[in-house]
């Protein structure tokens, strides 16, 4: 295999230009093609906190920075944001947040329940600092407003991309932890507001009643291959392979109520 096709996480021989960045106020020169996370590792930091998925979805590496001569606070995820010359940065790997405990089994799915769990919602001053600071471009203030007017479905939709990094909570004048509130709202949406999926329950019942049991047992009895023992490639396995090959594949463009030609092992 050609080595050019194989790459590691480590920074490769870098042709890139070096730029200064200030990590918590201290200057390091790093290649300008790196993300903040890789730049910190290039500088010699070894992460314990502040690194998680390294793919932009876990919210562990929220970063705040400023550029020279500019009063704006800028934000990004360290694993996703490419360094800029002279950026002053710090990560905020943790920020204390209030999370209400609620009894999910007894939640009825009403906005009132969210208000009771998080009365601080009504301290919102609509300053929009939360939205400005969100590295995922979630319209935080808008979903808070939607919750306040009881539109939980809208709030669930608007907050869907939230990765719960907590930057909104760091900037909130009302001292809310918006992301925890949105989480409760999305769960209410999923259980109470989104349409009910009857077919799933029907299938669970069918399985529990043993509707498919015999057919699955039959195919299980054909056994399995031990990859290190050719004698396990028996006639039964040939039969299993035949069944596998013969299974009808739902066409890519099939509509939802498509049915295969054979109704074998299906609900009638």
């Amino acid at each position: 295999m050609s080595d050019t096709a194989v790459v590691t996480e480590e920074v490769q021989e870098v042709k890139a230009e070096m730029v200064p960045v200030y990590i918590m106020g201290k200057r390091y020169d790093v290649p300008n093609s790196l993300t903040i996370m890789k730049a910190m590792e290039y500088a010699g930091y070894q992460y314990i906190r502040g690194a998680g998925c390294r793919g932009g979805v876990c919210g562990a590496c929220a970063t705040v920075y400023r550029l020279p001569g500019d009063y704006h606070i800028r934000v990004g995820l360290a694993c996703q944001t490419v360094v800029e010359p002279n950026m002053y940065l710090t990560q905020i790997p943790f920020f204390p947040a209030n999370r209400a405990v609620y009894d999910w089994e007894n939640i009825k799915g009403e906005a009132e329940e969210v208000f009771q769990a998080y009365p601080e919602l009504f301290r919102c001053l609509a300053c929009n600092a939360c939205t400005k600071v969100c590295p995922m471009d979630v319209p935080v203030m808008d979903y808070v407003a939607a919750i306040k007017r009881g539109d939980l479905e809208k709030a669930a939709e608007l907050s869907f991309d939230c990765i719960q990094c907590g930057l909104c909570a760091t900037r909130c004048m009302a001292e809310m932890a918006q992301y925890h509130i949105a989480q409760m709202v999305r769960r209410i949406n999923g259980k109470f507001i989104a349409p009910h999926s009857e077919h799933c329950h029907k299938q669970v019942e069918a399985i529990k009643s043993g509707y498919y049991t015999d057919k699955i047992k039959e195919v299980m009895e054909l056994g399995t291959v031990d990859p290190f023992d050719d004698s396990t490639k028996t006639d039964k396995i040939d039969k299993l392979i035949e069944l596998y090959k013969a299974r009808e594949t739902e066409p890519h463009t099939a509509v939802e109520d498509w049915k295969p030609e054979s109704d074998f092992a299906l609900l009638k």
Partner: protein, 557 residues
Amino acid sequence: MPYPDSLKQLIKKVEETRPERIVKKKAGEEFPALSLDDRGKVLQAFHPDVKEEGRRAIEIGPNKGYRIANEMVDLLEAKSRVNPEDVDLSNVDYETDVLVIGGGGAGTAAALLAQEQGAKVIIATKLRHGDANTMMAEGGIQAATKGWKDSPYYHYLDVMGGGHFTNKPELVETLTNEAPDVIRWLLEMGCNFSKYPDGILKTMHGGGTSRKRMHYAADITGAEMMRTVRDESRNRPDDITVIEFSPAVELILNDKGHCAGAVLYNMETAEYVVVKAKSVVMATGGSGRLHVQNFMTTNHYGATGDGIVIAYRAGVPICFLHTIQYHPTGVIFPEQAEGILITEKFRGAGANLVNVEGNQFVFEREPRDIEAACIIKECVNVNKGVPTPSGKFGIWLDSPMLDAMFGEGYVKKEFPGKHILFSRFGIDIGLEPMLIYPTLHYQNGGLEFQADSTTKIPGLFIAGEVGGGTHGENRLMGNSLLDIMVYGRISGENAGKYALNGAQDGDLSLEHVAKYNAEIEAADIDGSRIAPMLLPDYTLEHVKEKQLTANYEGTMR
């Protein structure tokens, strides 16, 4: 970085062939899938698993002689991080009914179910609660929820075929039978799967599926599942305690040979603490951060295979670790996003893979190992890879054809996470294709366990990627999110019941660790290595050569 001109020129070739490819797709004419024979041939020639110099036989432990990746053998043939004699087992720091090791999807589901049996639970996790591969899984979760066209029977066949018919039948039966109930459970917990207005769950194909049964929550399915179960665990603070930044470094057995807790390492204070438990759920996940054969990985920062190492030392055999799943489509350019997973859902939705000439060379819905081997072949053997500015080769994943087929804005709507990611680099994946290459994605094998999550050590239960056998030699897309929930729930339920009814108390012991260390010395193996790794080391040489007094314990200083 937007695509440079050199790549923009090459994109024109993709655009030239696109209209004809779309016409074919709409007519149901797919690029021919490989026969089972041809699949075997391409795997034998081009899959990284078959590279003999990449593996060696383990010299000690229950699977002596088993040939697996060098990087994993290095860890299995390593001594403990801490001298077992230094740990004072009479001084128990935490006592609980069930200890769950790992705070991802499997561990959290286990904690919920164990708590529901009446058990007190501790979740010990290396990073934050939820910093796990679960969070990163994008594509979806398989379940045969649609009785008019699908059932666990077909799901079973697909799983067996994907795994080259090597999977353990009982594990597959449980996986596929429990799948619809897992979806029901998640829906009732408020998980937001994508649905049609009539409530029918949206599903699509994945590689190797015969029916569209991949359920999803936009393109952040794993994150939506993880944040839902994590949120619920936070509703039970009296019973579920989470200890973060504290990975387990050894299992503790008792004098009856039963699992009775673990030694945790507080990475922030460098203290080792003793947790005594009546049962233990091992849910530490995978090992992409070992960078086998120097491949990039889609895995989270903590995926270093710790659970395999410490359970193997305690005597649990491993299986199917001779295969590793390389996800066919990791980002290879722009460099900042290198290794990041591009969900198989793009291919499930019909996006073609095309070479530097804009031509298809593989059906886009082959199982993952086949797809990856075909991409490697196209780049290193056929030499029709797309050269990247960083000197590597990739293949185009033609996302714009989805917009062309399903309407402008489709990609942005269905793949919001990836759309934002690329837009940060100045690339609109609704208009320009993505450059991809296979990347280390999943540990197909792991610790041996039964369909009730038990192992050969009483009191030790297994859930999720750390276990082996469910997927045989190759996992299909959408079956890992399923795996963690099915076996997370089963392990939690059974560990909870065992803790409250079956567990026998005894004197705590780390004798198995001392014995294992002695075996390493006797076997004349390099005794300087320690394990588990805990975190990878990305410190560069230019820093290391100046760290004149830094003390590295394995990869960590």
